[in-house]
C-alpha cells in the first residue's frame, strides 16, 4: 500500500528511504526519482505550485495503486510539494522498492509519467518580466502511450 503525501515542506530522500524500508531486507532494489525546480536561463525567481486539495491525494493514490498492481513492489512512496519554491528546490519524490531492479525502475518511470499528466498541480513561474502559467507539454501526454 503506497504512502502518499501532499505537503508544503521539503523532504529528505535518505530519511524517506529509511522510513519506507523499515528494517526490511527482502528488497534488493530501490529507485528514487526527484523532480526539482529547473532554471535553465537564470531568469526564474520562483515558482508557485497550485493544487486541488483532496483530488491530488486521491489521484496520486490511484496512480500508485495502478503501479502496485503492475509490478511486484515491496514499497512505494510519493511526496509532492505545493506552494512557492525556488530554483533547485525539490518538487516531487517517488520511491519504489522491489526484489527486482527492472520492476523498481519501470514502476518509478510509470508513476512519474502518470503523475505528470494526472495529478492536479499547476505551475506558475515568476521571472523579472512577470508571472505566468506553465503550459502542459505534448511529450508528457505522449509518454503515457508507452504503458498501454
Amino acid at each position: 500500500m503506497a504512502q502518499i503525501s501532499v505537503q508544503a515542506g521539503d523532504f529528505n530522500i535518505s530519511d524517506e528511504i529509511d522510513a519506507l524500508k523499515g528494517g526490511r531486507t527482502d528488497m534488493g532494489a530501490i529507485v528514487t526519482f526527484t523532480g526539482t525546480v529547473r532554471d535553465v536561463t537564470g531568469e526564474l525567481n520562483a515558482m508557485t505550485l497550485e493544487h486541488y486539495p483532496g483530488m491530488t491525494e486521491a489521484e496520486l493514490a490511484r496512480v500508485a495503486e495502478e503501479a502496485e498492481a503492475r509490478w511486484p513492489l515491496v514499497g512505494c512512496r510519493v511526496i509532492h510539494r505545493y506552494g512557492r519554491l525556488e530554483p533547485g528546490d525539490n518538487i516531487v519524490l517517488v520511491i519504489t522498492m522491489s526484489a527486482h531492479r527492472h520492476a523498481a525502475f519501470d514502476a518509478a518511470n510509470f508513476l512519474m509519467d502518470f503523475l505528470k499528466s494526472r495529478a492536479p498541480f499547476w505551475k506558475n513561474e515568476e521571472t523579472g518580466a512577470g508571472s505566468g502559467w506553465v503550459d502542459a507539454r505534448e511529450s508528457d501526454h505522449a509518454a503515457l502511450k508507452r504503458w498501454d
Binding site: M55, A58, I91, V92, P120, W122
Partner: protein
C-alpha cells in the same frame, strides 16, 4: 452543485469556487459548459475553448460527455503541469 476552478481558469472566472443550482436541461459536462458560456463572456473566456480545459467530477478526471447532477463537485482547470 459546487463549481471549482484552478490556475488560469480560476483567474479568468475571478473566483476559486461557487455554488450554483443545476439547470434542468443540463445532463452532461458539455451541457454545463454550454450553459455557463451562455451566461456571460467571463465564463466564455474561461471555459469557451474546451480543448484547453480539463474537467473533474467529484475529484476524478472525466470527459465532457460525463453526466452531472446537482450533488456533484465539478472542477475546471488547464492541463496539469506538476511533477
Amino acid at each position: 452543485m459546487q463549481l471549482v476552478y484552478f490556475a488560469w481558469v480560476r483567474e479568468r472566472v475571478g473566483k476559486s469556487e461557487e455554488t450554483m443550482q443545476l439547470p434542468g436541461d443540463v445532463e452532461t459536462v458539455a451541457d454545463l459548459i454550454a450553459h455557463l458560456v451562455s451566461i456571460n463572456e467571463i465564463y466564455g473566456a474561461a471555459l469557451g475553448d474546451t480543448d484547453k480545459i480539463r474537467i473533474a467530477v467529484n475529484q476524478e478526471h472525466v470527459s465532457t460527455d460525463h453526466p452531472v447532477t446537482d450533488a456533484d463537485e465539478i472542477a475546471f482547470f488547464p492541463p496539469v503541469t506538476g511533477g
